[in-house]
């Protein structure tokens, strides 16, 4: 022990660092800020370190070559000792990272911590969020499988819509004319050097600011932030009713970080690594590309935007959101911090949360995508076939053979791109059905060129049988009065 003390003293005589360290550790924080609500920032830092360590471990084996990456991932999963576990830790770590960063941001927003004098801390945080999402996307690309390949295609298609420089931007992004080896090489550089470098710098700035400006005090309704008096009030309050960061506050950070680390480990152990899915061979087109969950909301949004609005919203939307986030501490730099007195802030947050949550959920189920194999893999429900005429059954065959089932569900099975047809006969008359099938419209292609008159007749005969037993099919009243009877 004596030896350790002497070694410490020897080092400190040269480094002169024990003073600043002690000062940092023992700096006073407001008593109520030593709270479980304040543990998410430190947890994000802990996961960042975890990602850096597991990332370096993966980089020992990974080969950033479009021809070999997928094979190396398979090898990591199957042939390298604990390779699957390191991959799983890194993958689950990224999920936890995004989640914790978002929770941290929500907490900071609700507690008004972005207000004076912590504007720069908040702005650094906004860039940290963007970097985190950048790491998530580039990391998904390094898991070089089918989803990564076509995900790059989606990224390229979006970038290409930038006015004037779009096509050049695509070439810059891909490192060449197509998604290939050069693309993976530059995403490797982004994921491993460029973004982590920026992240380390920004994390340093963020932490430095937290120490210099002080951690946000617990917001009390009625305690108003004013630029002229805040710093004095904060310093006085911290002096009078503060606790030293170590050990007053840090024990909660440490315990929560340990819990997060344990959760990542358990998830990695139980659920295993992510993918890789099919190999990144573009000639294998039997694939339905799907982004990782943090981008599902975007994937869903892209299917709902009207075609004409898509490009402007895609290009201007993110810029507006980032601009607004950066501007927030200057728009609302003073005033109430407590969420109890900020109904607009709470409502905006709820709106964003519900919006993103709904889009993510839709992104999981992709009701807008045709079920590409429904026509050949799904049955027609028996109830729609029993007691039907030969013509009607012939129509059900047309329904399958012409891929109608890919977009229209029967009895809950099949695509949801178009409306379910279980009761189509009570919505549309015979004439309307014929018109809809032949001319399409309302997001349905026209089948006029691909159906013979006999096929159309059979198909419509089948569709006319699709109504609940206790509800009669729709009929054309005018036609009935002219012809005297229902057709």
């Amino acid at each position: 022990m004596r030896l350790m003390e002497r070694l410490g003293a020897w080092l400190d005589a040269r480094l002169r660092i024990s003073g600043p360290i002690r000062e940092t550790l023992e700096h006073r924080v407001p008593r109520k800020s030593a709270s479980w609500a304040y543990v998410f920032g430190s947890a994000a830092l802990a996961v960042f370190v975890h990602q850096a360590v597991t990332g370096v471990l993966l980089a020992l084996v990974y080969v950033p070559s479009a021809g070999e990456a997928w094979g190396v991932l398979q090898m990591l999963n199957q042939h390298v000792s604990a390779g699957w576990f390191i991959r799983a830790m890194h993958g689950w770590g990224s999920n936890f990272m995004v989640a914790i960063v978002l929770i941290h941001m929500v907490q900071v927003f609700l507690f008004g911590a972005y207000k004076f004098p912590r504007e720069l801390t908040w702005m650094a945080g906004v860039f940290l969020l963007l970097m985190t999402l950048g790491m998530a996307f580039t990391g998904q690309v390094l898991r070089f499988d089918q989803d990564a390949y076509w995900g790059l295609g989606i990224g390229a298609s979006i970038s290409s819509r930038v006015p004037v420089i779009g096509p050049a931007l695509v070439n810059l992004l891909l490192g060449g004319p197509i998604i290939a080896g050069a693309t993976l090489a530059r995403f490797f550089a982004l994921h491993v050097f460029i973004i982590p470098g920026l992240l380390i710098g920004l994390v340093g700035l963020h932490l430095f600011l937290v120490l210099k400006v002080g951690i946000n005090e617990w917001p009390m309704p009625g305690r108003i932030v004013r630029r002229s008096t805040y710093i004095e009030e904060y310093e006085k309050a911290t002096e009078q009713d503060g606790v030293p960061f170590v050990p007053g506050a840090i024990w909660k950070d440490i315990i929560f970080s340990a819990a997060v680390g344990l959760s990542i480990g358990v998830c990695a152990l139980v659920f295993g690594p992510f993918g890789p899915s099919g190999q990144p061979d573009p000639t294998i087109i039997q694939t339905a590309p799907h982004p990782d969950y943090f981008f599902l909301w975007l994937y869903a949004l892209l299917s709902f935007l009207p075609p004409a609005a898509e490009t402007p919203i895609l290009l201007i939307g993110p810029a507006v959101v980032i601009f607004f986030l950066l501007l927030l501490p200057f728009i609302a730099g003073e005033g109430e911090k407590s969420w109890r007195r900020r109904p607009v802030a709470v409502l905006v947050l709820l709106l964003v949360a519900v919006g993103l949550g709904t889009l993510t959920r839709l992104g999981e189920h992709t009701p807008w995508s045709p079920v590409m194999d429904a026509w050949s893999a799904l049955p027609i429900p028996p109830k729609d076939l029993q007691g039907r005429t030969a013509l009607e059954r012939q129509g059900s065959l047309v329904f399958q053979a012409k891929q109608c089932h890919n977009c229209h569900a029967l009895d809950g099975q099949g695509g949801q791109r178009g409306p379910a047809l279980d009761d189509v006969a009570i919505r549309l008359t015979q004439d309307q059905l014929i018109r809809q099938v032949i001319q399409g419209g309302g997001n349905m292609p026209a089948y006029g060129k691909n159906l013979s008159p006999a096929e159309t007749t059979a198909l419509v005969a089948f569709l006319l049988t699709l109504h609940p037993a206790d509800q009669p099919p729709a009929r054309d009243a005018a036609r009935a009065s002219v012809l005297g009877a229902r057709p």
Binding site: A66, I154, V170, P177, T283, I285, W368, Q403, C407
Partner: protein
């Protein structure tokens, strides 16, 4: 620096030194930027887009649409399978073909041909196209991207080499309109 130091001989030398460093940095930035922007400076590289054979035209029966693949003209060993690009070849009749890019005009996902219903369907957001590549429904704003083609001595060639994207309409633009009424 105080005012007198700034205008002293040493102060001048500091400024000269900074100026010199700036000048050298500027000179060095030229090759760095050229290196970084090299994927964009395309006219310097011949062969980015070139005529590629899809094999004998007879491989594609008239009236049918079939998947063909080609090796991208600019391919490096590290590209692996990613340099093998698929495309849809529609043999209309005689020497008339249509060669469609695999990429949906919405966001580039691979469209699949369904001969029974005569439609191309996209698995991502449900874009649909008719047999001639024109837009049928869904989010795409235009028809499928079409390659320029030629038939020489019974062999089908297409002009390819670029990832087709909605913003860069370098491929033939004939699929954009008009053909829908045909």
């Amino acid at each position: 620096m105080t005012l007198s130091e700034r205008f002293s001989r040493r102060g001048l030398l500091v400024w000269l030194g900074l100026l010199l460093n700036g000048a050298i940095a500027l000179v060095l930035l030229v090759p760095i930027f050229r290196y970084l922007l090299s994927p964009m400076l395309r006219e310097r590289r011949a062969g980015y887009v070139s005529w590629i054979s899809l094999g004998a035209a007879a491989r594609f029966p008239a009236g049918q649409t079939r998947l063909a693949t080609y090796r991208n003209p600019v391919a490096r060993p590290a590209d692996g399978d990613t340099a093998d690009i698929p495309c849809w070849v529609r043999h209309v009749d005689g020497d008339r073909f249509q060669v469609f890019a695999i990429n949906c005009a919405h966001l580039g996902c691979p469209v699949r041909w369904f001969p029974q219903s005569g439609l191309f369907l996209c698995p991502c957001h449900g874009g649909a196209y008719y047999a001639d590549g024109s837009r049928a429904s869904g989010p795409p704003e235009r028809g499928l991207f079409e390659y320029r083609y030629k038939v020489e001595r019974g062999e089908l060639f297409i002009e390819a080499g670029d990832l087709p994207t909605p913003g860069g309409q370098k491929l033939a633009s004939r699929a954009t309109g008009g053909s829908r009424c045909a």
